[in-house]
């Protein structure tokens, strides 16, 4: 196992710059998730670590050694592909043992290592099958098995679950988390699914347009987003964002109310207020920080999502626990949690009262 260091990484295709100034360190044994919208450069970054893409600028070091000019096979890294990329003409056992076969390892050793990995992944009965005879979930397991058989320095995952159905995705997510606990290996995982990111990661790297927006633990990103992009990207349903003005007393809300977040400082010049749906409390009638009409009510049993058309403002989502006694067409008052509301300046940077509050 080893740590991976990225220093000033840049990547461009001709004139198109897809990555710039990427500085990251993945600690030994850490599970890091790269997350961002499609086209943000996360997969490219992963493929650069793997050695499948050339590096236009900067340095990548694995275990202290710069690997820029090393081909993939000399980097000792395993990768799980989105399409699994199983060798269709080889059975499961040979797929899993291929990396050892290539290194001309002893046949008995290969068999032993493959059997061990197969047991870990519950594939022992499928070793003789061809990939085409497996289900999607089983193929996914074989792809992971192929990676763990080698005992590499680090594991890379490129959106490994995106080809699975929802139920299987949850199952495999737990499987990957279990695998990480068992192997204690450095793992870098790319996804556009924030749920995967939040549940799996020790640390999350949020990327957008070839740049890193923020790096932090899942809760840091959720509670103290560095900017508007991270605030709206992490969390589901996403954070309600409202244009606002402010003076030294607080933020002016539509309908004339003044809202003062807990971390308020009179020097702030916020342009936007962000409140997550779960930090809005609804009351019947017209009392609260602002008021509106409930338009759509979604009842999930555990939660109720209420889509409110706020007066002079527009749509907002509020999340109430349990089965809230609110129906479409009701007049509701919205109460924002002062401890959890976030303010952003004109450039979208989050405003915090002091640096200690920030991740």
């Amino acid at each position: 196992m080893a740590e991976i260091e990225l220093r000033n990484i840049a990547k461009s295709y001709g004139d198109v710059e897809v990555l710039r100034d990427v500085n990251l360190t993945f600690d030994d044994g850490e599970f890091v998730v790269l997350v961002g919208p499609s086209g943000c450069g996360k997969s490219t970054l992963l493929r650069m670590i793997a050695g499948l893409e050339s590096i236009t600028g900067g340095e990548i070091a694995i275990g202290g050694a710069v690997v820029n000019d090393r081909p993939p096979r000399d980097r000792d890294i395993a990768m799980v592909f989105q399409s699994y990329a199983l060798y269709p003409h080889m059975n499961v056992a040979r797929n899993m043992g291929f990396s050892l076969e290539i290194r001309k390892e002893d046949k008995a050793l290969i068999r032993e290592r493959v059997a061990l990995a197969a047991r870990t992944l519950g594939l022992s009965d499928l070793l003789e099958r061809l990939p085409k005879e497996l289900s999607g979930g089983q193929r996914q397991r074989v792809a992971m098995g192929r990676a763990i058989v080698r005992d590499p320095e680090a594991f890379l995952f490129d959106e490994p679950l995106s080809n699975l159905d929802a139920a299987l995705r949850v199952e495999m997510r737990i499987e990957i988390a279990r695998l990480h606990q068992e192997l204690q290996a450095t793992m870098v995982y790319v996804t556009h699914d924030q749920v995967e990111a939040l549940t799996l990661a020790d640390r999350i790297v949020v990327m957008n347009r070839g740049r890193i927006e923020q790096v932090g633990t899942p809760l840091e990103l959720y509670e103290s987003p560095a900017n508007l992009f991270v605030a709206t990207f992490i969390g589901s349903p996403k954070m309600n964002v409202v244009d606002c003005t402010a003076d030294e007393r607080g933020v002016h809300l539509p309908g004339g109310g003044i809202f003062c977040p807990e971390a308020w400082s009179p020097d702030f010049r916020p342009a936007r207020l962000g409140v997550r749906p779960e930090h809005i409390d609804l009351t019947a009638g017209g009392q609260g920080d602002c008021c509106g009409w409930a338009e759509v009510v979604e009842r999930l049993g555990s939660d109720t999502f209420v889509y409110v058309n706020v007066d002079d403002w527009g749509g907002m989502v509020a999340r109430q626990s349990g089965n809230a006694p609110i129906n479409p067409g009701d007049r509701v008052g919205l109460h924002f949690d002062p401890a959890q509301a976030r303010l952003f300046d004109n450039a979208g940077t989050a405003l915090y009262a002091s640096e200690t509050n920030r991740a």
């Binding site: 793997a50 050695g51 499948l52 081909p71 993939p72 096979r73 890294i77 395993a78 990768m79 592909f81 399409s83 990329a85 199983l86 060798y87 269709p88 003409h89 291929f98 990396s99 290539i102 290194r103 061809l130 085409k132 192929r146 080698r150």
Partner: protein
């Protein structure tokens, strides 16, 4: 079909048990006959143009049927085959066929594979080159044979002079006139003619190999050579088997180039079985004997095809 069955069953239901079973049998017969009805135009056409001539041809092989001796006709039994076993020219032609086929196939295949691998890389003007590569295939055999014959002629062609300069020939003479090496003339023309076929079919197979497999292999630690042998060749194997099979049969029967370039000479040194059959049937007008030779060739090629097809069945796992 399904609707017919249910409709018939529905009709038969209220009747007596006897009528029901007869009705069902009739329906079953209809169902069984239906696919053959649809197939019948193709089957009739195929049997008319292939099966009937084949049977007649096989029949000729066991008869005396020479137009130069029209009154001596009739059943010959295995006489033709007995003559064949002792026919020096036939054995010479069979050996020549082997050289001709294997020599042409070997170079066509390996050069074609190399060309396919080159064309599978990205480079400027790739599409144009891909189109140009197909050109020899589009040239009429007669023309290419004639052109190659001229190329080998020291009076007008450069090849003998080049070969002499390289030390392959002692002096610039026409190799088509030398019984020992004349066969290499048509083989060279055939290689030039046949490379595009292999290049294009193998290129199509190469392009169907998913790119991620090479990336996965790179991550697994494979060298370029290991990727070629363990992925590329595994994927190409079924295609290689089928193209080699087809080409072997075609080349073995492909006497056009030889006919144009050497006419089977000098001294039968470039006569192959196919051209020998042609000569026997249409020059010596001995159809019985020609048919016997044709049947031996057919049997040899069939045996070869069976071996290759069974090999292919083992190779195809994807």
């Amino acid at each position: 079909m399904e609707r017919q069955v249910t409709a018939a069953a529905g009709r038969a239901a209220p009747g007596t048990p006897q009528r029901t079973s007869r009705g069902r049998r009739l329906t079953l017969l209809k169902v069984a006959a239906e696919p053959y009805l649809y197939l019948s135009p193709a089957l009739i056409l195929l049997s008319l143009v292939m099966f009937v001539p084949l049977v007649i041809g096989i029949g000729y092989a066991f008869q005396k049927l020479s137009l130069t001796d029209p009154f001596d006709r009739g059943w010959a039994g295995l006489d033709n085959f007995r003559t064949l076993a002792g026919d020096r020219h036939f054995w010479r032609a069979l050996t020549n066929t082997l050289w001709w086929t294997m020599g042409s196939l070997f170079f066509q295949f390996f050069l074609g594979l190399g060309l396919a691998l080159l064309l599978n890389r990205r480079f400027a003007g790739r599409r144009l080159v891909q189109a140009l590569v197909f050109l020899p295939w589009a040239v009429p055999t007669f023309l290419s044979g004639l052109t190659w014959a001229w190329l080998f002629n020291p009076l007008i062609g450069p090849l003998p002079h080049w070969m002499a300069a390289l030390g392959i020939l002692s002096e610039p003479y026409n190799i088509l006139a030398d019984p020992d090496i004349a066969m290499w003339g048509p083989i060279a023309a055939n290689v030039w003619f046949g490379i595009p076929f292999f290049a294009i079919t193998l290129l199509a197979a190469l392009q169907s190999i998913p790119k991620e497999l090479y990336e996965a292999a790179a991550m697994d630690g494979a060298t370029a050579w290991q990727m070629f042998t363990k992925i590329t060749l595994s994927f190409l194997a079924p295609m290689i088997a089928i193209t080699v099979l087809l080409r072997t049969i075609w080349i073995a029967n492909f006497a056009d180039l030889i006919f144009v370039m050497t006419g089977g000479g000098p001294a039968n040194s470039t006569q192959i079985v196919a051209s020998y059959i042609f000569t026997t049937a249409f020059r010596r007008l001995d159809f019985g004997y020609a048919s016997a030779i044709a049947i031996v060739l057919l049997a040899l090629l069939l045996a070869y095809a069976l071996v290759l097809l069974s090999m292919r069945a083992r190779l195809v796992r994807v």
